[in-house]
């Protein structure tokens, strides 16, 4: 790959669903562009996920722009590898100008665009789209350094299967989608699992006979936009729901039934002991209340459309069962656990943009619905609630890239003479 000395209209960094959907939009508009992908299309889905992971959304919800799901299992859940394959097929189908095995090291602002330092040399472009995703990098809290060296530590970006962990009990930190799924399979593999639960989102797979994804779509929740929410920062930080791609429940009640020990948020590690918050009941009550409000909204929507008769009755899950006295500490020297899985969330990997004035004091990329005001011509895709609640889902790639491509196209036209 050698593209030097010439300004390309647009470079897209990242060949996942967002980058490919963006490519399709740009092709439709006749914008000359390249996609730089560090591996092959859908790389992260192939390399940075655990073996058993299936998409959280049913197949019918995972269509890509111009290519709805065409397989036989509309209500099934495809594996991460199957989805990666479908992205490769999609890249061919839309004739995406994909440059594989191209790492982008850094980006520099130029008067008329950007210069990228890549593994294939320098590339200049007039506009730049960061489509490396919102879940590019697992984050582990700084307290992890205080864990004694005999405890094996991993995270959902590296963890593949239960047999990778040394024999013995496991502390799973975090009860969002990754944490509950990994806790479940570790427990089913016969291990003692302690799950430290912080702020979490309880969500059942089905409600009144329909998949929860169908409901969120139907009631318009997924299409809520930036103007529809009060506290965008908080909404963007909402943890992923306690869901699995499949029919098994993975909420705390279900995990408790399997024998997973539930305790509070990991608050600190001191003197070789993990200290857990005593505030577990509060977080469970908050999650139950939020779920109840969602059910109310669904029931009201169904009632207004006189769908009641066609639906199963509203049977709601009971309140999360709480341990009477959840444990408040765990001694790493006791042999009770041999490993820790830090399922403490993912963050975008935007370090390659570090030379551009686009970050706030906390290191977060500042953007307005994907448009980056600190560097005109720079756009970002695939972040939580980028433009709408759907943004982080597969089905969010279409509407988000349509909006961003329109903005980018206009920007190129206005700056054509430059």
């Amino acid at each position: 790959m050698t593209v030097t000395g010439k300004y390309i209209d647009t470079v897209i960094v990242g060949g996942g669903q967002a980058g490919l959907a963006m490519s399709r939009e740009l092709s439709i508009r006749g914008v000359e562009h390249l996609i730089l992908e560090r591996g092959v299309a859908g790389n992260a889905w192939r390399t940075s996920r655990w073996d058993s992971l299936r998409l959280l959304t049913p197949n019918w919800a995972n269509g890509l722009p111009g290519r709805p799901y065409g397989g036989p299992a509309h209500h099934g859940f495809m594996t991460a590898a199957e989805f990666a394959n479908s992205l490769e097929t999609y890249a061919c189908l839309i004739s995406a100008p994909l440059v594989e095995n191209a790492c982008v090291h850094s980006a520099r602002g130029l008067p008329n665009g950007f210069e990228l330092a890549t593994s294939g040399g320098m590339i200049t472009c007039r506009t730049l789209v960061a489509a490396t995703g919102g879940a590019a990098r697992p984050v582990v809290p700084p307290m992890a350094v205080a864990v004694p060296p005999h405890i094996f530590q991993t995270d959902p970006g590296s963890y593949k299967r239960p047999s990778d962990l040394p024999l013995g009990g496991v502390l799973v930190v975090g009860a969002s989608a990754s944490g509950v799924q990994i806790s479940r399979e570790l427990r089913l593999s016969g291990r003692h699992v302690t799950l430290a639960v912080g702020n979490h989102v309880r969500l059942p797979r089905n409600y009144r006979g329909r998949d929860i994804e169908w409901w969120l779509d139907a009631i318009g929740a997924l299409d809520e936009s930036l103007d529809d929410v009060d506290d965008l920062t908080r909404v963007r930080r909402t943890p992923s729901p306690q869901l699995i791609g499949g029919t098994d429940p993975v909420d705390l009640a279900a995990l408790k039934r399997l024998g997973v020990e539930i305790t509070g948020r990991l608050a600190d590690i001191q003197d070789g002991r993990a200290l857990f918050s005593g505030g577990l009941a509060h977080l469970c009550q908050a999650a139950d209340l939020k779920l109840g409000r969602l059910f109310d909204r669904i029931d009201l929507w169904a009632k207004e459309r006189i769908l009641g008769a066609a639906l199963m009755p509203s049977t709601r899950p009971s309140a999360t069962p709480l341990p009477i006295l959840p444990r408040l500490s765990l001694d790493f020297g006791s042999g009770e656990i041999a490993s820790i899985v830090w399922a403490t969330g993912f963050r975008p990997a935007h370090t390659w943009l570090r030379d551009l004035p686009v970050f706030d004091c906390r290191g977060r990329l500042v953007h307005d619905g994907g448009v980056v005001p600190g560097a005109p011509g720079l756009y970002v895709l695939g972040l939580p609630f980028l433009r709408r609640r759907r943004s982080l889902q597969i089905s969010g790639a279409g509407p988000d890239t349509r909006d961003i491509a329109r903005h980018l196209d206009t920007y190129l036209r206005h700056n054509a003479a430059a």
């Binding site: 600190d268 001191q270 005593g278 505030g279 509060h282 908050a286 209340l289 109840g292 109310d296 006295l325």
Partner: protein
């Protein structure tokens, strides 16, 4: 705005001032750094008096018009005159006061008129800890229970949400449920 002001203040909480402060402190994070202070004087036996007046906040030392006093003692079962509540009961009053203030503020912000808020709070303790009978028993509470009784113009779910949100933003709830580094020293020694 006028409507908002009329609607607010129904519980006597100046929510607008709190929201303004939030916005101001978000822009000036250093002004949000507060240090709370108290001074304690031993009186006699296990009876002490703590006086509370100034604190540091908004970038400067703040003085109060008057000094507040909190006394602590122990009941007859501890061979003391019961001149004041025990320190652990003062801790409970801190939790109850903090959660209740939170409920009033959140209700104000959500336009919920409170008619009454009662909290019953209790905490379990095994004296085998503080008396040194059993090293396995901790000194502090083994559990704390708080039960609220709230009469308000709101549904049961909305009342439950007030209580949940007050915990989410409660300093004392956090202090009691999470570890805090505590350093105790003797003046002039290090």
């Amino acid at each position: 705005m006028t409507m908002g002001l009329l609607k607010q203040n129904q519980n006597g909480v100046n929510v607008q001032a709190l929201l303004d402060a939030r916005n101001a402190l978000e822009a000036a994070p250093e002004a949000a750094q507060f240090t709370w202070r108290a001074q304690c004087e031993w009186l006699d036996g296990v009876h002490s008096r703590t006086s509370i007046s100034g604190f540091f906040g908004l970038g400067e030392e703040k003085a109060r018009p008057s000094t507040h006093l909190v006394e602590t003692d122990h009941p007859a079962e501890f061979a003391a005159p019961d001149a004041a509540p025990t320190p652990v009961e003062v801790v409970l009053s801190g939790l109850a006061g903090c959660l209740t203030a939170g409920i009033a503020s959140v209700a104000e912000n959500r336009g919920v008129k409170l008619r009454s808020v009662h909290a019953r709070i209790e905490a379990d303790m095994d004296l085998a800890g503080i008396l040194g009978i059993d090293a396995e028993v901790r000194n502090g509470f083994s559990a704390i229970r708080v039960e609220f009784d709230i009469d308000a113009d709101a549904s049961d779910d909305d009342i439950a949400a007030l209580v949940t949100q007050s915990q989410r933003r409660s300093a004392v709830f956090d202090i009691l449920t999470n570890p805090t580094a505590v350093h105790v020293s003797v003046a002039g020694q290090s």
